[in-house]
């Protein structure tokens, strides 16, 4: 009898030997691109005002005088009354096909619409209307990694664009950290180029301008609006804010992604490094130096003599680079790397010294104390992992609270960072976006 029991006891062991297979699954969320075309007439006639709409694919954020402008990628701009950050109210939606960037000077809002720059009068929120349009100034650009292009020659009216969708894929792996290989390759270069728009710190000669994030391609300074596209910078004269005129183009190397004006300098984030331009003559910015990396390079923010640059994978030129670079720019002619810190997938960033906020894309938001540039990784104050963060704007003290604006794929968040180790959520405008699998 006992022997039979022993034999029975061995059956689970046999089963174990058969069932001992590791089960590992890799889940990835990636962008998928589909070519689409449209005509310039469609784009130009698509401009209009409609009632407030929910966020679906939020892009960059821009704020001025308690009002908030959230770009809806390629669709338009949400206008939000944010005078009480704990309960923002959506007021209206401006339909602008092909919009990605925003800048506001006095009561005029500038927005790109594929190839055009459109100006809106926003003095009366109930009656926002188009007042001017500079046609055919932008030839190409990208939204969330998808490229668009337009050739105005020969009365061409067709704009080529790519629709971007997010897909989720799960695949069994060998449990050994080797990334599963896609079976097909897309040939499009991609970069998340469209999270938040940054703007200018001050306009000494101009009127009052708003504030944007670190991912912006538009910047207002003095009487000029600077708009960077992939290989150049367009200058628009906004001395008459209602009537911007195209001024000139400054050629640059390829892969320009963001612009950050600081004092009388322009810091430009590109895929190959950080470019510093002297802007003491705002009509003609002059290149001072380049901090090269030969890699993907993303937004730049500057405080005092220190520039913070995030680099993120997402290009064919570097397999894996996700880091924060701290760069000493006390000598603008020769910027020096102080230290690099590994990050997960950094996007926009914001500095309100000594607080440094870094968006980690789908992996959340990090709050650092950057007072010691050599120990930033050891001074992580808080890591909020359950948000999707693409860009931030630390607003500093606003009515007794320190307000941090943050936009991500899952919503627009406002935090009080009076205690940078315990960010307090003030409000959230959620995103309602379908997920594809």
């Amino acid at each position: 009898m006992k022997r039979i029991l022993y034999v029975l006891a061995c059956i689970p062991l046999l089963w174990t030997a058969v069932a001992c297979t590791d089960n590992c699954t890799e889940t990835r969320v990636f962008r998928q691109y589909t070519p689409v075309t449209m005509t310039t007439t469609q784009v130009r006639q698509g401009v209009g005002i409609s009632i407030a709409q929910p966020l679906v694919k939020p892009g960059k954020i821009y704020t001025k005088d308690g009002y908030l402008f959230i770009n809806e990628l390629k669709e338009g701009i949400h206008v939000i009354d944010n005078r009480d950050p704990s309960s923002p109210k959506t007021l209206a939606f401006i339909n602008i096909p092909g919009n990605g960037d925003i800048a506001v000077r006095d009561q005029y809002l500038y927005a790109d619409s594929y190839m055009d720059l459109v100006t809106f009068d926003i003095s009366d929120i109930a009656n926002i209307h188009e007042v001017a349009r500079v046609e055919n100034v932008f030839m190409q650009g990208q939204f969330d990694g998808g490229w668009w292009s337009y050739q105005p020659a020969n009365n061409n009216m067709v704009i080529s664009d790519q629709r971007v969708e997010y897909r989720t894929q799960t695949v069994p792996t060998n449990c050994e950290a080797t990334p599963a290989q896609p079976t097909s390759w897309w040939t499009v270069n991609t970069m998340f180029a469209s999270s938040v728009s940054s703007d200018t710190k001050a306009g000494s000669a101009g009127g009052s301008s708003g504030t944007g994030g670190s991912m912006a391609r538009f910047a207002l300074y003095d009487k000029f609006l600077y708009a960077v596209s992939s290989s150049d910078m367009k200058l628009f004269n906004v001395q008459q804010p209602a009537k911007p005129t195209f001024s000139n183009t400054v050629s640059m190397s390829g892969g320009i992604e963001t612009i950050f004006p600081y004092k009388d300098k322009l810091f430009i984030g590109s895929q190959t490094g950080m470019l510093i331009y002297d802007n003491s003559n705002p009509a003609q910015p002059k290149p001072l130096s380049t901090f090269s990396h030969a890699r993907v390079c993303d937004p730049v923010v500057v405080n005092g003599n220190t520039a913070y640059v995030t680099l993120r994978s997402g290009s064919t030129c570097a397999g894996f680079t996700n880091q924060l670079d701290v760069v000493d720019v006390s000598n603008l002619l020769s910027p020096k790397l102080v230290k690099s810190y590994p990050m997960r997938n950094p996007h926009g960033l914001g500095v309100d010294f000594p607080n440094l906020f870094i968006c980690e894309g789908d992996y959340g938001l990090k709050s650092f104390n950057a007072s010691d540039p050599l120990q930033i990784d050891r001074n992580l104050q808080q890591y909020i992992e359950d948000v999707q963060a693409y860009d931030v704007i630390p607003m500093g003290t606003v009515s007794g609270q320190k307000i941090l604006l943050m936009i991500g794929r899952d919503g627009f968040y406002q935090f009080d960072y009076s205690n940078p180790a315990r960010l307090r959520l003030l409000s959230k405008i959620p995103v309602n976006r379908p997920t594809l699998t």
Partner: protein, 206 residues
């Protein structure tokens, strides 16, 4: 991080030796006579395999055999003549994951304790695999440890109250989550691992 690892090591060593230290105290001596202290220390291999497609959406399957080193120590008390309960601490060297499982376990003799000979026993351990000892290449960090289950059977060769040799076979299940480097158009990439292994161990018991 280095500090956490050091503390982890120390804790693991302490957890392993606390019952032994207790046993030295006179207060516990009487208790110990009623419920003697038991230690099972084993070393062995975790055997398994893995099957996976050669790429996303590929119908071609690849199969590999896997073996990892495992060390573990069980420290407990002989609650009943046949039953011992206690804590388990170990170290498992999986490929790209060095885990520190800690948990609770029991050893139950299926056969009557005999003066001379071989005893068959059942073991059952439940715990959590900590990632404190792991170091990963950038982008491949372990984000979370996970549940550890380890039921099995063993043979103990030796006289009661004296040292004995152990040979055990068990099933070990361990979950862990890891980062994956992001590809050029990825916005998220993570790996969830479930190790299902046959553990074959040799050891000593007293």
């Amino acid at each position: 991080m280095a500090l956490i690892r050091t503390i982890g090591c120390l804790l693991a060593m302490l957890a392993g030796s606390v019952p032994a230290l207790w046993a030295q105290l006179p207060v516990v001596e009487r208790l110990e006579q009623a419920h003697p202290f038991v230690n099972y220390t084993e070393l062995g291999g975790l055997f398994g395999r893995v099957a996976y497609p050669s790429g996303f959406g590929s119908p071609t399957e690849q199969v590999e055999n896997k073996v990892s080193l495992t060390i573990q120590t069980f420290n407990g008390v002989q609650l009943r003549p046949r039953l011992a309960v206690g804590g388990v601490v170990g170290v498992d060297w999986y490929a790209n994951a060095l885990l520190l499982p800690v948990g609770a376990g029991l050893r139950y003799d299926l056969t009557r304790v005999e003066q001379n000979g071989v005893n068959l026993f059942v073991s059952a351990d439940v715990g959590y695999g900590l990632t404190w000892l792991n170091r990963a290449s950038t982008g491949n960090e372990l984000t979370k440890g996970g549940l550890m289950l380890n039921p099995g059977l063993g043979l103990r060769f030796g006289k009661p109250g004296k040292g004995a040799f152990l040979l055990s076979l068990s099933y070990k299940r361990q979950t862990v989550d890891a980062n994956k480097p992001l590809g050029w158009n990825d916005i998220r990439r993570d790996e969830h691992r479930v190790y299902n292994r046959l553990a074959v161990r040799l050891g000593l018991s007293f």
